[in-house]
Symmetry: C2
Subunit: 336 residues, 2 copies
DNA sequence: TTGTATGCGTTATCAT
DNA sequence: ATGATAACGCATACAA
């Protein structure tokens, strides 16, 4: 039997014919083997083996109404952090029989809405989404109109009834800034990236929370979440502070590079800290003091919550906020 | 109408009923609007709008035999290089209406075979695969028995009729090793990773090609393709050579770190080069001299070839080998 | 131009 | 324990 692509495709009918049984028996051998006699079961199994048959998932889905498909929408499929989250979610869900469609928006909210529609018409049973912007009303409207099971991961849209799993961005930045203050840093600069996502706003808030009303001389500059941005922002500094807090590790690393080119030594002259603890940060020179997020765990948790949603279980906490950990390495020097 | 998940699902029937036409007319409005009178067309369109109807892709696929689904199998969904390849392929294919399922094997060939089966039963129309090991006979057998359209990307299994897109690994390592020899390096050590994949073997071959019969004192050590492996291997070196060639950038960076801890200065005392030009290598201290592969282009090309396969076009070159480029930065010093 | 009826490959219901 | 058959939602050949 040949389909449109010229592929040789065996189906339940051909298996039944070869085994000399009805198609219902074949179906039973696959879905409920115990209900078939040993004799027929073995016949059917051999036929399946011989023909290299495997059930057509499409037909199965149409009939059962269950695709066992989960969709992911993330801002950038090239960013290892997002993929580690996805791995976490997959590790939880794949042993429960799900398959995954992963889509990247390139940080474009219009594309995000489009992908939502695509996944919907692929009949995914659930979705895990890391939002691409600060808001996307088309997206939110579509979600509300469909009752699709969804979980937001790491970044969310506000005013939404979608459960959320994230990390305590504000708390993390606050912790590491507190550490800076406790070790005698009097003037501190925060280098933010784009401020449109929920996580970026939270990090900035953590910095402000830590620094205000404590007699600290502080300033905030906005750029992007890249090495180059950290570099440029730092090069333009009129006055070098006691410490610089990067909105993420890349920004911090860029700042260190600029500082070194400007003749300052880290941490001797300036302390620098980041946020993320990305793969490379422990190998930088000097190794970067930063905040570690439980990335993988975040994904795992998102997978778990989606699974609860899918199975009609009561989701206890609507929002789950995971805690961060300060990783002390060698870019901070006490100035007491 | 409500499906098993409790979702409100409108179907072609409900649209037809509301519009007061037959289901074939609705189908025509969607697939071939010009064949329907203006009057009915507008009625149907309003009904579609009102109900928020979109066609069930599952049913459509079952009927037409076309899923517009492409599957990817890669060794590790957490590795940015693989994902950049995928992005290349997607950029070519998505404007042609395809959707993508991405699966990672965790470098496990058994899992690889399982994923192949999964994708097959999801009725993907084509697949792009980066092989997880040196061989996988179950995988190869299954592929041959199905006529699935497939392209190997970056890593391949031998003896296969599957088209392949890769880079000239051997040529790349040869080029950079030649450069080392031409700049007066007399003793050179190659630090390989696992030697089971096709690309790892090719890189080693490039090194040997460059070094032999030229009076060079050379040695090869095997470890893994990680920072730690480069570090450990280097720490165990009895005698420090003029230059070290890392099987990839991570290994080279690990070697540099070990060297620096052992009191050697790069490139003053030893030259070190890598392979990949991964994202971070230009920011390392000192910036790493390495070989750049056209990662994205490789994926784009793989997508293009798969598309040709899918459309029955004649694929001119069965194998496509892309060229590499040596990136000179600051970890090599001339010793002439 | 429009409608009726068939079948895609399954699973599930109902007989036997 | 096994088989015949309806139904899932859609596209399409054929009839009108």
């Amino acid at each position: 039997m040949e389909n449109k692509n010229g592929n040789i495709t065996s189906n339940i009918k051909s298996v039944a014919k070869l085994a000399g049984v009805s198609i219902s028996t074949v179906s039973r051998v696959i879905n409920n083997p115990d209900s078939v006699s040993e004799k027929l079961r073995s016949k059917v199994k051999h036929a399946i083996e011989y023909l290299g048959y495997h059930p057509n998932q499409i037909a199965r889905s149409l009939r059962t109404g269950s695709t066992k498909l989960i969709g992911f929408i993330i801002p950038d499929i090239t960013n290892p952090a997002f993929l580690l989250m996805i791995k976490g979610a997959e590790d939880f869900l794949k042993r429960r029989g799900y398959t995954f469609i992963v889509c990247g928006t390139d940080h474009n909210t219009r594309e995000e809405t489009k992908l939502l529609r695509t996944l919907l018409s692929q009949n995914v049973e659930g979705m895990i989404v890391t939002c691409s912007g600060g808001q996307n009303s088309d997206f939110s409207k579509t979600v509300e109109s469909t009752n699709i099971k969804m979980v937001f991961m790491d970044r969310r849209y506000e005013n939404s009834k979608v459960p959320y799993v994230g990390v305590d961005n504000a708390g993390g930045v606050k912790k590491i800034t507190d550490h800076l203050i406790e070790t005698g840093h009097k003037s501190i600069i925060y280098l933010s990236g784009e401020r449109n996502t929920s996580s970026a706003r939270e990090r900035l808030r953590g910095f402000i929370d830590s620094v205000r009303n404590r007699g600290i001389d502080f300033q905030v500059f906005y750029g992007r979440f890249t090495f180059e941005s950290g570099y440029d922002l730092t090069k333009r500094l009129k006055k070098i502070p006691d410490a610089i807090v990067g909105g993420n590790d890349l920004v911090a690393l860029g700042a260190i590079e600029a500082l070194s080119q400007m003749g300052y030594c880290v941490p001797h002259d300036v302390s620098v800290v980041g946020f993320d603890d990305m793969f490379y940060s422990k190998y930088s020179r000097p190794p970067l003091t930063t905040v570690r997020q439980p990335i993988y765990e975040m994904g795992y948790m998102a997978g778990k919550i989606l699974w609860q949603l899918l199975n009609g279980k009561h989701v206890k906490k609507h929002d789950v906020i995971l805690q961060t950990e300060v990783i002390l390495r060698e870019t901070v020097k006490s100035r007491i």
